[in-house]
């Protein structure tokens, strides 16, 4: 597929007479990546798709029976699953919005002459360098109502972060925000420093308000790279598993990946879990597609 698309190069492009032609350079640069990704994704994808129409269980030696759309029908009719999706949506919104506000905010503050800026930035990036499993372990301890540091530091007594069904999801999202705001911050910082200074100077001469400067100059220029950060954070948040799984076990924090994990690796309902994975995949595809469309629009401006 990839090769067919790539064999015709626009003759208008600069065909260098020296060295390799642009055509072969382009193919050399792009095709290996595409082929590599196809090889390593097509098999799992086809496997999952195929089994999503069967009652296959990887744990049993019984042959798989074709059940048509039964798995999809059962899943979409299951109120527990819809609840999982609602929880996931809430989680994605809270944690991604939180990360963008904190991450972009800190980047705005950092985008000036600050002593030890390199060191500060490295230190701020530390949370995202830890592994999810370790963050989960330590934050469970930090949140502990009896001997956790958070309640002690904030003077909250025995406030129950994780065992209060209404609070637990926000507590997990808070940990996620702590961990991943630095990601948004670093990308925003890279975007912010790209804004040409003469634009700010021109705005200052025009006596433009800081609101105007921010929304008409800063934001549009940072938007493309910020969008990439948001796309990746949304995708990751949608798939989130470790943090919520380790921190709490409230029904109110059972995001879709936890349900999927239980179905696939505890119950070994392989066929059913493949169907659920496809439903998740289609949702993520749809959401990401909207983002990417928006990103392209932003870039055109």
């Amino acid at each position: 597929m990839a090769t067919a698309v790539l064999t015709t190069l626009d003759p208008q492009s600069r065909a260098a007479s020296r060295g390799m032609s642009d055509l072969s350079i382009r193919n050399l640069f792009i095709i290996p990546t595409i082929v590599f990704l196809i090889v390593f994704n097509i098999f799992p994808l086809l496997y999952s798709l195929g089994y999503s129409f069967t009652d296959f269980r990887a744990s049993s030696s019984a042959p798989a029976n074709f059940v048509g759309l039964q798995n999809y029908r059962d899943l979409l009719a299951d109120p527990f699953i819809w609840n999982n999706f609602t929880i996931t949506a809430k989680y994605v919104i809270v944690s991604v919005v939180g990360q963008v506000i904190v991450g972009f905010g800190v980047a705005l503050l950092l985008n000036r002459d600050i002593p030890f800026k390199g060191l500060l930035t490295t230190l701020l990036l530390l949370p995202m360098m830890l592994s999810m499993a370790v963050v989960g372990l330590f934050w469970k301890l930090l949140y502990d109502p009896s001997f956790g540091i958070i309640n002690y530091a904030l003077g909250l007594g025995t406030f129950e972060w994780l065992s209060n069904p209404n609070m637990a999801l926000y507590a997990v999202a808070l940990t996620d925000i702590w961990m991943w705001s630095p990601f948004v911050m670093l990308l925003s910082l890279a975007g912010l420093s790209a804004v040409p200074k003469h634009l700010y100077e021109a705005a200052a001469i025009d006596r433009a308000g800081s609101f105007y400067t921010f929304f008409r100059i800063t934001l549009p220029l940072v938007a493309p790279i910020l969008m990439i950060a948001i796309i990746f954070r949304t995708m990751e948040a949608f798939k989130t598993f470790d943090l919520a799984y380790i921190l709490t076990s409230q029904p109110t924090t059972e995001v879709i990946s936890i349900r999927l994990y239980k179905m696939a690796f505890q119950e070994w309902q392989t066929g059913m879990s493949c169907a659920l994975a496809y439903i998740v995949l289609i949702m993520v595809l749809a959401i990401t597609n909207i983002y990417v469309k928006y990103l392209n629009k932003v870039k055109e401006r």
Partner: protein, 319 residues
């Protein structure tokens, strides 16, 4: 950076610095706590109020590196005297060092897993960033039919929840003998990071003015030379940021490392949580394992800090 002119701006600037410092402190508080726990005696690990002043100990690190088991009976004075200093530290903690059938001290899984992590994370980062940069340049500079679709396909490879990919990948790896090998994890992490590397690098390379290379081509460079001598240096910031992210992802990946590898190639992330197994986790050991594991990424990031901060300003300013 433009010079600060008015006193109002100067105040804003100072305020911003103070705010940044406060936020940094909040962000670092949990990490400071982990780092200090790594040197605490075990009985001070979870005290409330938290213990701030204590005599630092090296014993958590000794415990981290050795295979230990609970002491059933206190060691005899002779045994204790005969033991080397580090073994005494383990005795003091109510544990003993496990020795093999040939009498050798058995190490915990940590050191070998740490090495595995280094091999896998470094190699896969180099591969992902390298391939990602090439591909991003290809998409950025040349006309590609169905460009948007291909880019979206690349992005989509990161959307499947890993839980589901795990079973078919495991079967595929078993069939070709890639399970429990470094190469297996390297390929997996490269594939996983590639979509991110392509997208991020494309974002950066799009910002580099085409005119630079065109000037170079006019000067007699080949396209390849122009790419390596003009584009790569200009894209250094992007490469640094991408490398940091890819390295962090590969370094900390848990699910695939757990499922695809066993004794030979397993990386360190699954090791640290296993330390809670004994019913009363020794938080000092967990913290020391976490701290040591944080160091390589932190150092890597610190070394690249200037590249990370230079931002994309080159393109836009000179345009």
């Amino acid at each position: 950076m433009a010079a600060v002119r008015t006193s109002g701006e100067r105040t804003t600037n100072r305020l911003a610095i103070v705010l940044v410092l406060i936020i940094t402190m909040i962000f670092l508080a949990p990490i400071y706590w982990i780092a200090s726990t790594a040197f605490k005696p075990r009985n001070l690990a979870t005290t409330i109020p938290p213990t701030v002043i204590f005599t630092p100990e090296i014993s958590p690190f000794v415990k981290l590196f050795t295979k230990r088991s609970q002491l059933r009976a206190a060691p005899t004075p002779e045994e204790y005297e005969a033991a080397p200093w580090w073994e005494r530290l383990v005795f003091d903690g109510g544990e003993k060092v496990v020795r093999s059938g040939r009498g050798e001290v058995q190490l915990s899984g940590y050191p070998s897993r740490f090495m595995n992590s280094l091999i896998v994370a470094i190699t896969s980062t180099v591969l992902a960033v390298g391939m990602g940069t090439f591909t991003a340049y290809g998409f950025s500079r040349f006309k590609v039919k169905g460009e948007q679709d291909l880019l979206f396909f690349i992005l989509s490879t990161r959307m499947l929840p890993p839980v589901v990919v795990a079973i078919p990948m495991f079967l595929m790896y078993r069939a070709v003998g890639l399970n429990d090998t470094h190469l297996g994890l390297i390929i997996l992490y490269t594939a996983f990071n590639l979509s991110f590397a392509v997208w991020l690098m494309k974002g950066f390379i799009d910002e580099i003015p085409k005119e630079y290379e065109e000037a170079a081509l006019v000067d007699g460079y080949t396209r390849m030379q122009a790419f390596f001598k003009i584009v790569i240096p200009e894209a250094a910031t992007g490469i640094a940021a991408t490398a940091v992210f890819c390295f962090i992802t590969a370094w900390n990946e848990y699910a695939f490392a757990l499922i695809m590898t066993n004794r030979r190639a397993q990386t360190a992330p699954p090791f640290i949580p296993s330390q809670v197994g004994s019913g009363l986790p020794d938080w000092t050991v967990i913290a020391s394992g976490t701290l040591l594991f944080l160091l390589p990424v932190a150092i890597f990031t610190f070394l690249l800090r200037n590249h990370l901060l230079r931002g994309m300003s080159f393109g836009a300013i000179r345009k």
